[in-house]
Amino acid sequence: MEDSFEDAAMNLRLVGLSHKTAPLEVRERLHVGTAELRQALTALDSVPRVRECFILSTCNRVEVVAEIEKSRDGEGTLTNFLCDYNGERLEELSPHLYRYRATGAIAHLFRVAASLDSMVIGEPQIVAQVREALAAARSVGTVGPVLGPVLDRALVVGKRVRTETGIGRSAVSIATAAVELARKIFGDLRGRRALLLGAGEMSELAAQRLVKHGVDTVLVANRSPRRAARLAAAFNGQVVDWGESLAALVDADIVIASTASPHTLVSVEAVRRILPQRRYRPIFFIDIAVPRDIEAGVNALDNVYLYDIDDLQGVVEENLASRSRRAEAAEELVVEELERFVGTLSSRDVAPTIKELRSLAETLRREEVGRAKRKLASLSPEQEKAVEALSRGLVNKLLHRPITALKEEARDGRGQQILHLLRRLYRLDD
C-alpha cells in the first residue's frame, strides 16, 4: 500500500527566503518569473525522490515546497536545487534560507496565504499569487494528492482570515488613505472631479488611486504648462491655467496640493468665498506639500475637509497598528485551521479503505446470492426481492460496526492502526 496521506504530509519540506531573511539583490537573483515558472517546476519535479512540488516566487519571497520520499535530508535536496538552478553558491545562499518540515511547512503556507508573513500584513496580492502559482503547478502536473489539498486549504485559510479579521480592510499607504477618506466623505466617487495643484509623485499616485475608484474628471494646474499637459494626458484630464486654479476650486470635489511654493496658495478666505458658489457642496483638500499649500484653518469651515501629509501618515500608522492587532487574531485562526487540517490527515486515509471494504462486500454478496438463486430453482419476483434485501441487510449490518469504529478512531487521530488491521484482515492489498 502507498504511504497514507498523513505519512505523505509528514514528508513535506519547504525551503525559501523572504524580505525578512534576504536583501533585495539576493531575492531578485532567485526570482522565478511567470514565464519561467513551469520550467522551474518541471526541473524540480525531475529531482530524484521529489514526488510533488510547488514554487512560490513573488517580489518578496521565493519558496520551494516538495513531498520528498522518506529521507533524512529533504531540506538539503531543496536547498541544493535552489543553488543549482540559480547558479548560487551554497555557503552564500544558505544563511538567507529558512526551512520547514511536515506540519511546520503546512503552517508556514497557511500563514503566507493569510498575508501574515507579508511585508505589509494584510496585503491582498498574496492570495492571487499563491493561486496563480498553484494553477501553474497543476498545469504541469507537479501538484497531486498531497500538496493539492494542502495548498487548497491554504487558500481557504487565507480567505477566512481576511474575511473574519478584516486584516486587509484599512489603508496602509498615503494614497490609499486619501481614497479611503474621500470615500467616507463622498461615498461613491463616480462623477467626482479632482484638481491637482502642482505635480508631485505622491499626488500623482493619489490621483491614480482616485481615478481607479471612480473619479472621472481630473484637472491639472501647474506653473509649468508642459508638466501640466503631461500629467493631464496621463489621466485623460484637462489643463487649468495656473492663474485660474483658485477659480477651479468651485467645481472640484477633491483637491490634491503638492506644489513647491514657499507660502500657502489657498487661504481660508478664498475657500469661504467659493463655498456659496459651490452651493456648500463638500470639498476635500489633500495637502501633501511641505511647506503646506493650504491654510490649516480651512478645516474649521463647514463642509470643508483638510488632511495634510502628517494627518495622512497618522491614519496610515493607526491602520498599521490596527492590522498588527488583527494579526494576533489571525494567527490564532491559522493555528485553529492547522489543528483541524492535521486532524483530518488521518481521516483522509480511511475513505478509500471504506470504499474498498464496501466494494469487496458487495462482490461477495452478489456471488453468494447468485449461487443461492441457482440452487433454489425458480423464484418468484417477490422471493428474489426478499433474498436481495436479506443479503443487503446482512452485509450492511456486518460492516456498520467496523466502519463506525474506523471513523471514530480516525477522528481521534488513531486511524492508522485500525486501518492497517482492517486491510490485513480483509486482505484488501492482495
Binding site: L181, I185, F186, G187, R279, Y280, P282, N303
Partner: protein, 275 residues
C-alpha cells in the same frame, strides 16, 4: 392574531438587529445584508398584523390605541429603512435604523394588551379622510424621526473626519454624503406626508358635522413645525443648506416633534387626547 403576528415581527426585527449590530462591532458591514432576511420575514409578519387589525376592527387604521400607533410607526420605519438600503446600497444603515425600529415595535407589543380597549372612534363614521389622515400622520412621524437619526449619524461621522484622527466609528458609519442625502430625503418625504396629514384633517373636519378642530399639543406641534420644515427644505433647495447645519436642524426638528408626539402617545394612549 394581531398580537401574535406582531410578536413574530418583533422577533424578526430583533434577530435582524442583533446580526446587524454584531457585524457593526466586528466592522464587517459589507456583510450587513445578512440582517435583511430576518428583517424581511419580520416585516411580512408585521404587514399581516396590521392588515389583520384593519380587517378585524373594521377595515381601516385608526391608531385608536398606542399599540396600533407604535406598530404602524415601526412598520413605516422598517419600510423606509429597507427602501434606503436598496436605494443607496449601504447595508450598514441596517445597523443604526433596525434597532430603533425594533424598539418601536417592542413598545407596540408591550402595549398590545390594550388593543381596542378605547373605542370612542367607533362613534365616528368610517371616513376615508380619517384613514388617510392617520396613515399619513404616522408615516410622517417615522420619516421625520429617520431624518433626525440621519442627522445624528452625520454629526458623528463628521466629527470623525474633521478630527483628522479617525477612530472606532469612522469605518463603521456610512459616508457623509449618504447620511446627508438620507436626512434630506427623509425630511422631504416627511414634510410631504405632514402636509397631506394636515390637509386631510382640515378637509375632513370641515366636512364633518360632529368634529371640531382641536388645538391640542399634537395639532399645535404639527402646524408649528410645518413652516419650519418648509423653510429648511427651501433653504436647501435655494442656497444649498447641507452638512452640519442641516444635520442640527433635522435633529432638533425631527427629535423634538417626534419626541413630543411619541411622549403624548405613551402617556395618553392617543395622539389627540380628549378627542
Amino acid at each position: 392574531m394581531v398580537a401574535l403576528t406582531l410578536g413574530l415581527a418583533l422577533l424578526g426585527y430583533l434577530s435582524g438587529s442583533a446580526v446587524a449590530l454584531a457585524l457593526l462591532v466586528k466592522n464587517r458591514l459589507d456583510e450587513a445584508g445578512r440582517a435583511l432576511f430576518p428583517t424581511l420575514l419580520g416585516f411580512a409578519f408585521h404587514t399581516i398584523s396590521i392588515g389583520s387589525a384593519c380587517v378585524i376592527y373594521g377595515g381601516w387604521i385608526t391608531a385608536a390605541s398606542a399599540s396600533e400607533s407604535f406598530s404602524f410607526i415601526a412598520w413605516s420605519l422598517v419600510l423606509f429603512t429597507m427602501l434606503m438600503v436598496w436605494r443607496y446600497k449601504v447595508p450598514a444603515l441596517l445597523s443604526f435604523l433596525l434597532p430603533l425600529a425594533s424598539l418601536t415595535a417592542l413598545l407596540a407589543f408591550v402595549q398590545s394588551g390594550d388593543l381596542r380597549l378605547l373605542a370612542p372612534l367607533q362613534a365616528v363614521p368610517k371616513a376615508t379622510w380619517l384613514w388617510l389622515h392617520v396613515s399619513l400622520s404616522l408615516l410622517a412621524v417615522a420619516a421625520l424621526f429617520l431624518a433626525a437619526v440621519a442627522g445624528l449619524v452625520y454629526l458623528l461621522q463628521e466629527q470623525q473626519v474633521k478630527s483628522r484622527h479617525p477612530g472606532y466609528l469612522f469605518r463603521r458609519l456610512p459616508s457623509l454624503e449618504v447620511c446627508d442625502r438620507l436626512g434630506y430625503k427623509s425630511l422631504s418625504v416627511g414634510f410631504v406626508l405632514l402636509t397631506g396629514s394636515l390637509m386631510t384633517a382640515a378637509v375632513g373636519i370641515w366636512s364633518s358635522l360632529e368634529l371640531r378642530w382641536s388645538w391640542d399639543l399634537t395639532t399645535s406641534l404639527a402646524v408649528a413645525g410645518w413652516p419650519l420644515y418648509m423653510a429648511v427644505i427651501y433653504w436647501r433647495w435655494a442656497v444649498g443648506l447641507r452638512g452640519r447645519k442641516a444635520a442640527y436642524l433635522a435633529i432638533v426638528g425631527g427629535l423634538s416633534v417626534t419626541g413630543i408626539l411619541l411622549g403624548v402617545l405613551l402617556l395618553s394612549g392617543r395622539f389627540h387626547p380628549g378627542t
